[in-house]
């Protein structure tokens, strides 16, 4: 297992080194892509200057709001749907089609309805994230063993108590998978929406830098987004693995 991890790091470093080499050798022109080392120094300069602190804070706040809202709505909807079999059957084709719908197509509509504030970006993040949470919540709740539910009935728990004390804790690892996806989708939705049209945020600054031919700023910010998202995803992945190990014990 360790050897695989080592190889993986070598592959990634090799890819970065190759890009660096191609640019220094002049095979890839500098005005198209700047070398990864310069991206890193540009990012360091951006973070040190602090001039984009507001944009970064705005984006992170909006992503966080989208994650919290989609988790709250997704787990609630999932829990209710699991008990309402008829409704669930009717909605089933929607679940299967949901991710085929190009969510960004709703963005112009959201802007006209809510104005050019933070709400349309949060909505896109929420819309992308919420279905992953619903599907994974349902998936987890479907697996609760009968014997646990019988135990709940013996203790005369009502539906809410059974959900809070038995069903949801049992489904937690599956809901966590939904959470992981919700985080990724919220980032994709919010930054993508900022990129199309908005007045602030990291996505907005990247497109602004692109329009001004400011390659150092643009690549610094792109590196920032990629590093941030990859770090968050990898930590969640590690956390999930730990949770699964605990459960097996």
């Amino acid at each position: 297992m360790k050897r695989v991890t080592l190889l993986r790091i070598l592959v990634i470093l090799g890819a970065i080194g190759l890009l660096e080499g191609l640019i220094h050798a002049g095979i890839v022109p500098r005005f198209t892509i700047i070398p990864p080392s310069e991206m890193a120094s540009a990012l360091a300069a951006i973070l040190a200057s602090g001039k984009l602190k507001v944009d970064i804070a705005v984006t992170l706040t909006n992503v966080a709001v989208a994650i919290v809202a989609s988790m709250a709505a997704g787990v609630t909807i999932g829990t209710v749907l699991q008990r309402a079999a008829a409704l669930r059957r009717i909605l089933d084709p929607l679940f299967a089609t949901y991710y085929a719908i190009p969510m960004y197509a709703f963005y112009p509509l959201l802007i006209v309805v809510f104005g050019l504030g933070d709400v349309p970006q949060i909505c896109i993040g929420f819309l992308l994230a919420v279905m992953a949470v619903i599907i994974n919540t349902l998936n987890g709740l479907d697996r609760v063993p009968r014997v646990l539910l019988k135990a709940a009935r013996m203790h005369r728990m009502n539906a809410l108590r059974t959900a809070l004390r038995i069903r949801l804790p049992y489904a937690a690892p599956y809901i966590f998978t939904g959470f992981k996806l919700a985080v990724a989708y919220s980032f994709i939705g919010v930054i993508g929406a900022e990129f199309i049209t908005s007045s602030r945020g990291i996505g907005y600054e990247i497109s602004f830098a692109y329009n001004n031919f400011d390659n150092r700023l643009m690549y610094g910010l792109i590196l920032f987004v990629l590093a941030l998202v990859l770090t968050v995803n990898m930590s969640l992945h590690a956390w999930e693995k730990r949770l699964m190990m605990q459960r097996q014990r």
Partner: protein, 243 residues
């Protein structure tokens, strides 16, 4: 049974839409009937069709590239246990990054226009198709392959009789995911940097506050995506049942 549920769902969506319209009002929203009417007007407009053709052409090219490259990557890596273990987490990480941040890079490489849209659509589709293909090949029951060896099948016959039938259901699932993402990528590309295509029309309608066009275009796109996805889903189910 299934068809009836779908019909009920469509009815539920239409009722919810109409209720939302009554709640939000006619300044920033349109009713289902009005939207269908403006969609019909749009479809009859001779200036509209070139945009549809442009988008469909970009999407078709992007999808073809995504399937070709995605399958090559997935099948090549899936054939080797070590390669697939090294590559899979990298591919999953690539899947979760907001690819929209890479769009300026694509624009700088390809310039504004058709190739950039195609490339951007394709990078959305390549990753999921390769992840599914990789797992499809890796998870083929080894007994099947050994049976092929025992029967002394030629490599070509083994591929045709064993590998393809065993891996196809998962590969089709991946292609379905890739289809949806490629469509989203292509549209996103048109919304940001393009002078033609449906994504561009959508952005234009937004800057002009043309609600009729926004709602009609959104409806047409959703109906198109849902229809093709439904067909691919039916194929998907059929293949999975067979195995």
């Amino acid at each position: 049974m299934k068809a009836r549920d779908t019909l009920i769902l469509v009815a539920v969506v239409l009722v919810a839409w109409q209720l939302l319209y009554w709640a939000v009002g006619s300044i920033a929203f349109r009713s289902p009937a009005e939207t269908v009417r403006s969609a019909a007007v749009l479809l009859a407009d001779p200036r509209f069709m070139p945009h549809v053709r442009e988008s469909m052409l970009a999407f078709a090219e992007a999808f073809a590239i995504a399937v070709l490259i995605g399958l090559s990557i997935g099948v090549t890596l899936g054939a080797s246990r070590l390669a697939s273990e090294v590559a899979e987490p990298i591919l999953v990480a690539l899947y979760s990054i907001p690819k929209v941040t890479l769009y300026p890079v694509i624009l700088l490489v390809f310039g504004i226009g058709m190739p950039a849209k195609v490339a951007f659509g394709a990078i959305h589709g390549i990753v999921p198709i390769s992840i599914f293909a990789l797992n499809a090949i890796r998870n083929i029951n080894p007994v099947y392959l050994r049976t092929g060896q025992v029967l002394r099948l030629s490599p070509w016959a083994a591929a045709r009789k064993i590998l393809i039938p065993a891996a196809l259901p998962e590969i089709v699932t991946g292609i379905r995911a890739g289809f949806c993402l490629t469509l989203i990528g292509t549209l996103l590309g048109e919304m940001f940097g393009a002078q033609r295509g449906l994504g561009h029309l959508l952005m234009q309608a937004m800057t002009r506050h043309n609600m009729d066009s926004i709602m009609a275009l959104t409806l047409l796109l959703v109906v198109f995506a849902a229809t093709v996805n439904g067909l691919l889903l039916a194929l998907d189910h059929r293949l999975h049942r067979r195995v």
